[in-house]
């Protein structure tokens, strides 16, 4: 995983024409980032797998390497479309943020599991999770007001798997071919509140190719709450 982070100033642009009210993806009371907000993009955690004939997930380092690069490029292009600046963080700084990053990953799992899955009654259907003050460590290091986290796990059916799928299809058994799961989350670096969260869970998408990676980034950042 290459540890480059970038800070970009969000200039008022909209890249989704759709009008969203209080959607499932937004924390109560939050609609969009204010103009001129600074958002730090945390290093994306991506891993790609091949599904063998036996259904075993096999990590594919070269695919992951490629996907990480494609994802970064796609994100950079996105920022460029919005006319944004980027800054690099030292790897040493990223190390300092390990515990907050680990914490965020756990919270994101909880949100993906419950807010978009089996709900927790006490949350009353709202996106209401906060990492609290510890996120201010990110603010201190980067000067940003918000942080964007992303995580993708993607699996692709290997040739044997595809053959197995075809064979089993003939006897009426459906086999999963491959799944793309991921999330993107936007966190307020003053309060730690998760302001926006998008979960990806689908059977398509391909991060192994640069052009298809762009599509994944678009899907992940669909309706990213930027002020018009």
């Amino acid at each position: 995983m290459r540890l480059a982070s970038s800070v970009f100033a969000v200039i008022a642009v909209s890249f989704a024409a759709a009008a969203w009210g209080q959607s499932k993806n937004l924390a109560p009371g939050f609609t969009s980032l204010p103009r001129g907000a600074a958002v730090v993009v945390m290093p994306t955690d991506i891993e790609l797998f091949s599904i063998s004939g036996g259904g075993v997930l096999e990590p594919k380092a070269d695919w992951t390497e490629a996907a990480t690069q494609h994802f970064k490029t796609a994100l950079r292009d996105k920022k460029q479309k919005l006319g944004l600046r980027t800054l690099e963080l030292a790897e040493k700084d990223a190390d300092e943020l390990t515990e907050v990053n680990t914490l965020h990953a756990a919270v994101a799992r909880a949100i993906a599991l419950h807010h978009f899955g089996t709900p927790l009654p006490t949350k009353e259907g709202k996106l209401d999770w906060s990492l609290g003050e510890p996120v201010q460590a990110i603010k201190k290091l980067t000067g940003a007001d918000y942080a964007l986290f992303s995580w993708v796990r993607d699996s692709y059916a290997s040739a044997e798997r595809q053959a197995a799928m075809v064979a089993l299809a003939f006897v009426g058994v459906g086999l999963g071919g491959g799944v793309q799961v991921g999330y993107a989350s936007l966190v307020d670096l003053k309060t730690g509140q998760v302001l926006w969260f998008n979960r990806l869970l689908r059977g398509r998408g391909d991060l192994r190719e640069a052009d298809k990676a762009v599509e994944t980034v678009e899907a992940l950042l669909e309706q990213f709450p930027v002020a018009k």
Binding site: M1, L3, F49, S52, G53, G54, V56, L57, E58, P59, K60, A61, D62, T64, E65, D95, T98, E160
Partner: protein
């Protein structure tokens, strides 16, 4: 190595049989030049990238033992063994109470605290590290990788080198990705070669396995494969024989026991504590028995054995525990927990004055102990 295998091994195939004799193997093999980073698209390259990412995680992991002095010490030993390959070897110490060391194809080396607890001197550590470097120099893992790819669980292969202190995974894949007999034999040869070049006494290599066997034999089921090291390095029946032969061919070198003991002293108590907490009493007793035979005066070992007896609590164990604790105290420099252990036994036996004295001594020696409030309450209770 199970007893049956070791006895049956004899000399049936160790000299001039199917496997070339170790001395012969040494003459034929030369240390290769440093490895260049493989092409990212190749399978080796893919493995390398994965290892790089695992290494980043390892560096950040809370299970990583980050003491700069100890790390530098072990790194230095690994470096001298690796010779020209020194710049490519990166040592990571990991807090896991099991015997294991591994080296990934990208140069990342893991040394678990359980291994550092068990070796008596630098030479023994060098034997294990040299063996791992042997696998690295002879590129066994890449061969294994190509072999394993045809089996669908390739991804698990990474677990051998990655996942910090991954105990569970290694247990699961026992034997699946183990190095072959030929690989083991070659790594042993290379390890001894490297030890000699670095000035270590090669005779210590056989001792490491001898010592480990003691522990394994002590296991109620005698099952070697449950050791993480033996999950991936199946003990060859003729191995000790082969190592002894190799050592005979080399002039004696240094063992550096004193330096080693000094180097690990600050960590010994913690590592012993972790070993005891494993709850594998028979193995711990075998290990401690061996250590006490070497250093009868070291209070920490007596305390640890006392703890094991106290926790096992079989017939006669509590008496044994008391004996050990008292021996620790007699030796001097005993851990404060020694008095706590004594106090617990006395309290259970309703020997109130002795219990109170012991607990009070514990509180004196360790006023900030986590359970000081509980122990104080026991002292109060025992007054009445």
């Amino acid at each position: 190595m199970n007893r049956r295998g070791f006895l049956a091994g004899g000399c049936a195939c160790c000299v001039g049989g199917l496997v070339p004799g170790p001395a012969a193997a040494q003459a034929a093999w030369e240390i290769p030049a440093r490895f260049a980073r493989p092409d990212a698209g190749s399978d080796e390259g893919g493995l390398w990238s994965m290892m790089d990412r695992e290494e980043v995680r390892l560096r950040k992991s809370p299970f990583s033992l980050r003491d700069p002095k100890l790390q530098a010490y072990v790194q230095d030993i690994a470096c001298r063994l690796a010779g020209e390959h020194c710049p490519d070897v990166r040592v990571h110490l990991v807090r896991t109470p099991l015997f294991n060391a591994s080296m990934a194809p990208n140069g990342m080396m893991q040394v678990w605290s359980g291994l550092m607890l068990r070796v008596d001197n630098e030479a023994q550590l060098a034997a294990v590290l040299g063996h791992e470097i042997g696998h690295y120099l002879a590129r066994h893992s890449v061969e294994r990788l190509r072999d394993a790819k045809s089996r669908s669980a390739f991804g698990m292969f990474i677990g051998m080198f990655g996942a910090v202190g991954a105990v569970g995974q290694l247990g699961l894949y026992a034997g699946m990705f183990a190095y072959s007999r030929e690989h083991e034999s070659q790594a042993d040869s290379i390890g001894v070669l490297l030890m000699r070049k670095a000035g270590y006494d090669a005779a210590e290599a056989a001792k490491v396995w001898e010592n480990l066997q003691l522990e394994i034999k002590a296991r109620p089921d005698g099952d070697a494969s449950r050791s993480p090291f033996f999950a991936t390095h199946p003990p060859a029946a003729d191995r000790q024989q082969a190592l002894a032969e190799l050592a005979r061919a080399s002039p004696a070198g240094a063992a550096n026991e004193v330096q080693w003991r000094e180097g690990v002293k600050p960590f010994l108590r913690d590592w012993l504590h972790e070993e005891v907490k494993r709850g594998q009493h028979e193995e711990s007793l075998a290990l401690l028995g061996r250590m006490i035979a070497r250093s009868p005066a070291l209070a920490d070992y007596r305390w640890a054995r006392g703890e094991v007896y106290r926790l096992r609590a079989k017939e006669g164990d509590l008496d044994s525990a008391v004996t050990e604790y008292l021996a620790a105290i007699a030796g001097g420099g005993e851990p404060p927990d020694t008095h706590r252990g004594l106090g617990m036994i006395y309290r259970a036996r309703r020997q109130s004055p002795e219990a109170r004295t012991s607990f009070q001594r514990y509180l004196e020696l360790a006023p900030e102990a986590p359970d000081s409030a509980l122990i104080k309450s026991y002292v109060e209770e025992l007054r009445t």
